[in-house]
Amino acid sequence: MITLIRNEFYKQKREWSFLFLLLLSLLPVLTGGAGAIFNSSTKTLADLFFFMNNQFAMFFPMVLFILVGFLFYQEYKNKTYINWITYGYSKRKLFFTKVSVALIIGVLFAAILLLLFICLIFALKVTGKVSADIPELLTVSVGFLLEAAIIIPVTVCAGAIIINLSRNIIISSVIGVIYGFASCFFIGSEIGFVVPNGFAYRVAMYFSDRTSYYDNPIRATIGGCVISLLIFAILLSVGVILFTHKRKIES
């Protein structure tokens, strides 16, 4: 499996599309940072995190959809799919390899985003444009990491299903954009915890502003965790079944 994962990374050599996806991932901090720098008023850390997190919750699922779509589409577009599946590895293993690589890159992107956010906060603190202390920054970081831990696996599995059904990166990207917007509709709802991305957003916000969490926190927390896990398991299973399904003729 390690060799297969290494091979996947090797294939990405000179693929500049990843840089574009990374820039897209960093947009929330870049725009938030620019706003804070050019705005004369002093902001709180909670304000900046709120701005960044709103955009992150919408953009990042799109990035993940395109990312996992790109990884699978590479085999379809280059027509290397036939070679790839005849090396003697099970299709299940090949599927998990692509998904693992998408997860690793997704985590890496989220970590870079968080680091950039932390750097931005420090820079703004030095210039007196934000009021924040380290414990507060650590607390929102924990919230952000929990959010990423929910969004990344669920979205990657959903994206893997779409690309393997459509074998078309345009369709996959369009559905990714719709998915990103659609999951935001549930953010404000009291029963929005049934949608993993909506739940993840509220979890992150809890660490910066506790009043923004659900009115019935126990039901939402337990329900959100269980449903997120369940949806992840279902999406992963559907993805594996779709990919490993024996076709009459592979093409």
């Binding site: 091979n7 294939k11 050599k13 290397t80 005849t86 090396y87 590895y89 003729i249």
Partner: protein
């Protein structure tokens, strides 16, 4: 020896392969001849385990593994942003070949000088030759080359012909070449397999020149008789 026994493949009620039975020996080059849609590529795909066929495909009486095959099916497919050498190196890693002899593989197909070129920068002829180099890399026994001269100019076709016949034919390999090009098939193969509507209709030793083969092909393909003679 590769044994194909009673291989059948039906898709949506249509028989794409019908009772294919044949034995293929090491050290020989076999030419698979047939019109478009006859089942040549489907037969190759079945050998690689890429179809849901019924029947048996055995190597030395054991179920065959796709790892025993080197193949160039339909199109020389590689990663365009990797170089020639990187593409072969990646292939070797998938096959778990330690210290692959990429230099020899590329020299055999006259691509060593182009090893640092990106795959996307290669001409079609170079791509086909790289596809053949890849097919031969590692411990493969059976080589499946589906239309290896497709789209090549006469010089490119000649290069592939010489490559197969003079450099790559060996007692350790069994090479199957499908083609529409009768000149090419007549020049390089030891044995001819005629396939029509998913059936093998004739198997012959290749003692023919191009003109004779053309006449024979026409006779066989226009004959209404189905099944092996």
């Amino acid at each position: 020896m590769l044994q194909i026994k009673n291989v059948n493949l039906n898709v949506s009620g249509v028989a794409l392969l019908h009772n294919i039975s044949i034995e293929l020996e090491l050290g020989k080059i076999y030419g698979i001849l047939g019109p478009n849609g006859a089942g040549k590529t489907t037969l190759f795909k079945s050998m690689l385990g890429l179809t849901d066929y019924t029947g048996e495909i055995l190597s030395e009486s054991q179920p065959v593994s796709s790892q025993l095959f080197g193949s160039l099916i339909e199109y020389p497919a590689f990663y365009p942003k990797l170089t020639v050498a990187e593409n072969l190196w990646l292939h070797a890693r998938y096959l778990k070949i330690n210290n692959p002899d990429i230099k020899t593989a590329l020299e055999q197909v006259n691509l060593w000088e182009a090893r640092s070129k990106l795959f996307s920068q290669l001409s079609l002829g170079m791509r086909q030759r790289l596809g053949i180099a890849r097919a031969f890399l590692g411990n493969v026994k059976y080589l499946l080359l589906d239309e290896p001269t497709n789209g090549l100019d006469p010089m490119g076709i000649k290069e592939i012909r010489l490559l197969l016949k003079e450099r790559l034919k060996s007692p350790n390999h069994c090479i199957l070449v499908s083609s529409h090009n009768l000149t090419e098939i007549a020049a390089i193969t030891d044995c001819l397999i005629f396939i029509k509507n998913g059936r093998i209709v004739k198997i012959l030793e290749n003692n023919y020149n191009e003109q004779e083969l053309e006449a024979l092909y026409e006779t066989i393909m226009t004959s209404s008789k189905e099944g092996l003679e």
